[in-house]
Symmetry: C2
Subunit: 121 residues, 2 copies
Amino acid sequence: MARAATTADAFNAVAEPRRRQILDALATGERSVNDLVAALDLPQPQVSKHLRVLREVGLVLVREEGRRRLYRLDGRPLKAIHDWVGRYERSWSQRFDRLDAVLADLKDEEAEPDGGTDDDE
Amino acid sequence: MARAATTADAFNAVAEPRRRQILDALATGERSVNDLVAALDLPQPQVSKHLRVLREVGLVLVREEGRRRLYRLDGRPLKAIHDWVGRYERSWSQRFDRLDAVLADLKDEEAEPDGGTDDDE
DNA sequence: CCATCATATGCCCGTATCGGCATATGTAGC
DNA sequence: GCTACATATGCCGATACGGGCATATGATGG
């Protein structure tokens, strides 16, 4: 089977650093391919290929203007990532550490009703 | 070169759905490998391999208890993802749509000072 | 119509993936 | 020590990636 296609979903598409760079560059607004080539200092074919992936997962939209193509960000597919990752916020935010400790203690008590080390608070 | 290693960073590690499932299962608390095997209905070697990847990027911690290994979530590496994705929140949140439209209009005016279609808003 | 600019595709390579299966390592208990 | 359990590792095949480079497609202007 191998790894899931990069076009499988936003998670895979965005795992590639260059693709994130492209999105970052597009955050300011519409840009042509050549614009991006200059901004990211990458060979043009690569940029086009990365844009293809981003387009297939719906992260960018294209608009044709004369002979150039203007790419535009569409971050909606990122919401899924944000939502999923957001569920773990407690696990890095100091703000939730105390709560987690309490929950862990409660779980321990469930498992061992006789209570073990009753480390304070 | 090929795709970046799955162990390159949290972005790549988490792009794999099964690994997300594992993290989800660990969100409740520590679990042994066999626990996860049962919960996810996956062959044990696969679970072990996925756990290896998650460990290498620091998303899980292990604790040895007798002959079993208890894995525990450590979501800190997810913060980078959350931070990056968070910068795009405006692009999916309705809350920011109006602001974006205004910004886009401003940009258009910059580009075409003679004004084009002045579709009201 | 022909040359030029802008972008997309195609092909080759080396690499690392994930899945499946067998097996190695390691611990527990008799 | 040997057997059973728990987990990790190794090897295989298939796949598709990302980079490099050449080239096709497409639109513009003379």
